[in-house]
Amino acid sequence: MFKILYIEDTENNRILITRRLGQSGYQVVTADDAEQGMAVARTEKPDLILMDMGLPGIDGWNATRRLKADPALKEIPVIALTAHVMHGDREKALAAGCDDYDTKPFQFARLLRKIEALLVPHSPQRGEGRPALQSLGDGGVEQVLPAPQVRSYETPA
């Protein structure tokens, strides 16, 4: 089963994406800020990172630069996520080291396609046992699978 780390400061967004990815057969770990995300990335060794770019403190752009500068983490693909897009943001995300880019509100089928595209070439030996997704176009992806496995890492209030 592929493991995805979702770094996002809004709890409801973490729950939403965790639910959706869990339903699609991914194991999800979450962190609510960049520092926590970096620590979780080191311990959990996720197959892919979803990075909210609007994080408080160290933002997603800088967090990605740090991840990509770390020899132990630089191979993990990162998808940048943002809620308000500016012209050139995609290029900015790629320049920061992100492997792809998506915007909120999510078209979940599109996000899944991006995740799949990055996971397959990066981790051919991992993710065994993950059920195949049956894409139903932009309307959704058929859910196959076991209950989601979720672990959250949150900074204490």
Binding site: N13, R19, G54, A83, H87, F106
Partner: protein
């Protein structure tokens, strides 16, 4: 003041307005996008007979939020030159406030009916939608009131 200095003094406020527009747009879009995400999950669960009113309510919320996001992105478009004026943003706020109140009312009305869907997660997700609607309403009230005037 020479022309370069004049351009420079005009550029700084304009850039600040754009930065504000990006941040405010991001902050308000976030809970709205969250509502849409939960709507999608919940709509997939209300196909059961007898849950038609839930479906109608969720569809209405989905339509309203989609319209709010489009309106927000158009007015606070960070690529706009010059950025939106304070009166434009005030008008945007005037449109978004009743819509935010409406989605909050609708989700609150749907909550007691959520018991008809035999899944505790359904009610939980609906509660999260209420939270996000409240948050969106609060941000529309506060952030947009602080929108700076153009020089």
């Amino acid at each position: 003041m020479n022309s370069d200095a004049r351009r420079s003094s005009q550029k700084i406020p304009s850039e600040r307005i754009k930065e504000f527009a990006v941040q405010a747009g991001h902050d308000i879009c976030n809970p709205l996008a969250n509502i849409l995400g939960f709507c999608e999950i919940l709509l997939a669960q209300v196909e059961a007979p007898g849950a038609e009113y839930l479906k109608v309510g969720l569809k209405a919320v989905e339509r309203t939020v989609t319209q709010m996001i489009a309106d927000l992105k158009q007015v606070l478009n960070p690529d706009r030159t010059p950025p939106a004026s304070a009166p434009e943003v005030k008008a945007l706020q005037g449109r978004l406030q009743p819509q935010a109140a409406q989605i909050l009312r609708t989700t609150q009305l749907l909550l007691p009916k959520a018991g008809s869907v035999k899944d505790g997660i359904f009610r939980e997700d609906l509660s999260r939608m209420c939270d996000s609607a409240q948050r969106a309403g609060h941000l529309i009230d506060t952030r947009l009131s602080l929108y700076p005037s153009r020089p």
